[in-house]
């Protein structure tokens, strides 16, 4: 390796570190905020008397905000939304990738366009509807509305995934004597596993972080962490330390999920995301 090349390598690493400074600094700052007592929030920058009180307050459901319940709600609602989208979206993605049936292109595109529809279009009608149907502030209601977030993503990406998978594998299974359903479950599905894992993670994160839907469509029963974390800002003083602590606590599930499927994440998106 020439000196010049090595130097370039270092430069590249330095550039990378620079980006990650930008990417990680706010998170580091959130950690610092979360460890600060409320009265030192603005008085100092890096020297303070660290305390876990912030976390205690958040997890101890004091301040009148049942954050632990919101946390459980978020889990139920996000997992539920992703699972439902997978159950419904995988067959749809598969069908539209395997059969060029009438209107499939338009159908898929319309489905995708929901992903990009402004939430405000539906929020008022949906509120009225939910009140009528008794879905307001329920898990079912949230899981339903989060389909707007998760379903198009899953269908769109998984569809390209299935399209990239040669149909001959399932055809081989058919000739081996398996039914179409068995061919899908035993052959196609295991092969797209990395894609399913990666896209589920993304869908989970987007569902988990959604703000407007839970804000308007839930109250105490089904409220989620994002709205919950913001609640700490109100009151006598803006308690950024509690908001930061709550936000960091709510990063834990997606983070754990991401670490579990780390080995699939990049690979999983590698051929899925492309073909339209």
């Amino acid at each position: 390796m020439t000196v010049q090349k090595r130097l370039l390598g270092w430069l590249a690493d330095a550039a990378l570190i620079l980006y990650f400074l930008f990417a990680l600094f706010p998170i580091a700052w959130m950690v610092i905020l979360s460890l600060k007592p409320t009265n030192e929030l603005f008085s100092t920058y890096f020297s303070f008397s660290p305390t876990l009180d912030g976390y205690r307050t958040v997890l101890g459901d004091s301040e009148g905000i049942p954050f632990v319940r919101f946390f459980v709600n978020s889990l139920v609602v996000s997992v539920g939304a992703v699972v439902l989208s997978l159950l419904v979206g995988l067959p749809a993605a598969y069908a539209s990738a395997r059969w060029r049936f009438k209107g499939s292109e338009n159908l898929m595109f319309t489905l995708l366009s929901f992903r990009f529809a402004p939430e405000l279009t539906v929020i008022i009608p949906l509120f009225v509807l939910y009140q009528k149907l008794g879905l307001f502030d329920t898990y079912v209601g949230m899981i339903w509305v989060l389909q707007l977030v998760t379903l198009p993503l899953i269908v769109w990406i998984m569809r390209s995934y299935f399209a990239d998978l040669t149909p001959e594998l399932e055809q081989a299974a058919l000739l081996d004597g398996y039914t179409r359903k068995q061919a899908f479950v035993r052959v196609a599905l295991p092969l797209v596993k990395p894609g399913v894992a990666a896209v589920s993670l993304l869908a989970f994160i987007f569902a988990w972080n959604n703000f407007v839907f839970p804000l308007i469509l839930t109250s105490n029963e089904a409220q989620t962490v994002t709205v919950g974390a913001l609640s700490f800002l109100g009151g006598d003083r803006p308690k950024y330390n509690l908001t930061a602590a709550a936000a960091l606590v709510s990063v834990v599930p997606p983070l754990l999920l991401a670490l579990t499927i780390q080995r699939y994440l990049v690979r999983g998106l590698s051929f899925g995301a492309v073909k339209s």
Partner: protein, 473 residues
Amino acid sequence: MDTHVHDRRRFLALTAAAAATPLLAACGAGFGGDDSKSDGSAADDVTGSFDWKREKGTTVKALLNKHPYTDALIADLKSFTEKTGIKVEYDVFPEDNYFDKLTVDLSSGRASYDVFMLGAYMVWQYGPPGWLEDLGPWMRNSAATGTEWDQADFFPNLLQADQWSLKAGAPLGQGGQYALPWGWETNVVAYNTDVFKKLGLKPAETFDELREISGAIKEKAPGAGFDGMYGIAVRGSRSWATIHPGFMTMYARNGLKDFTVSGGKLTPAMNSPEAVAFTEDWAGMVKQGGPPSWTSYTWYQCSSDLGAKKAGMLFDADTAAYFQAVKGASPASGKIAFHPGPKGPDGSLATNMWIWSLGMNAKSKKKSASWLFLQWATGKEHLLRSAITHNHIDPVRKSIADAAAYKDKMRHLPGFIETFETVVDQTKIQFTPQAQFFDATTSWASALQEIYGGSGAKSVLDDLAGDLAGKVG
């Protein structure tokens, strides 16, 4: 709808057919005039002698904003349930989004919440569509209201602030009582005593002095050991909430009006020559002595800057300063004093205010129980307890403002009680009531930002007035 419209609708066949029912239901139930006004108040159904236990076993749902008053209320709910046998279920939402939540909820015409917190300005928005229960009949019905509630004990201007005849431009204090004052904030100047002492300053008595002092602090304080300190913190974000505290107070003290009313017609007055001059001065004050990045300033930034010793003064709600001033709350604790703020040219201390009020959903099916709750929450017993053991300050009741225990509690804050007592009688809603309040004040805030950014005050305010004339008039 006529047949022509029907034809027109056919092309929408699918959505329309599916959609029609809920929409009409929503309109009918949410905004229908006929069902709410037909025959008197539900308060008339309450007869006999007053009884706290009348609605035993009922559950009332409350929507609450995250606030110290709320904390005090929640802490005391047990005693309400003990007293009445009524259970209270509540949802608490963050302040930034509280009114979005409430607005959507009320507009749906559903009674998901029986009672909720609101400000006096919200009465102007929620009242006309008929979402708010007129509490007058309840207050006047001795079978529904116990004598100890003592209506006369409220500061009259507060009670009046929640009364309105639902007609744009009609003065407050007439018509229905659409909410009850519960806790409030008057807008005054709080200042850092350290920096005032060090620089030899005295609280401003006129607006010119205020501007001068603001500039002086920003210029001199950083050199005098107050790192990064500027003169005066006032709100500046592009929000209706920017207008009502310091700005509207000073505006009113200068004898200025937002609208002029004649013959039931509202004319925007923010572009009167005097208003233009004042607005220019205000923007100039912010530029010379205000916070950096002022256009992002909400009360979070304003109050935390005062607490962090970055702001020499705060012209905002007295409570915002109070929560930074109490012991151990911030680096500036113990160094914050209160002052009524500059007087107008004619010596006016007209002050604008924010009232956290409690209202009742007109669609509530548990009005009697809800009224008991409102009565208790605005009653002497609870308010005194929460003023003393919690932080329910700026009492809406004279008896509490005068209570020795309360005064003792507030005494350590220099000037707090004096300031309160000075301005309380001149504090009222300084805006002209009208349903487009939020649109008007949001545009107003945007106009302020533009002027601050260097646009000519006259043309910006003329545009604003022109725009609002169409919407409000």
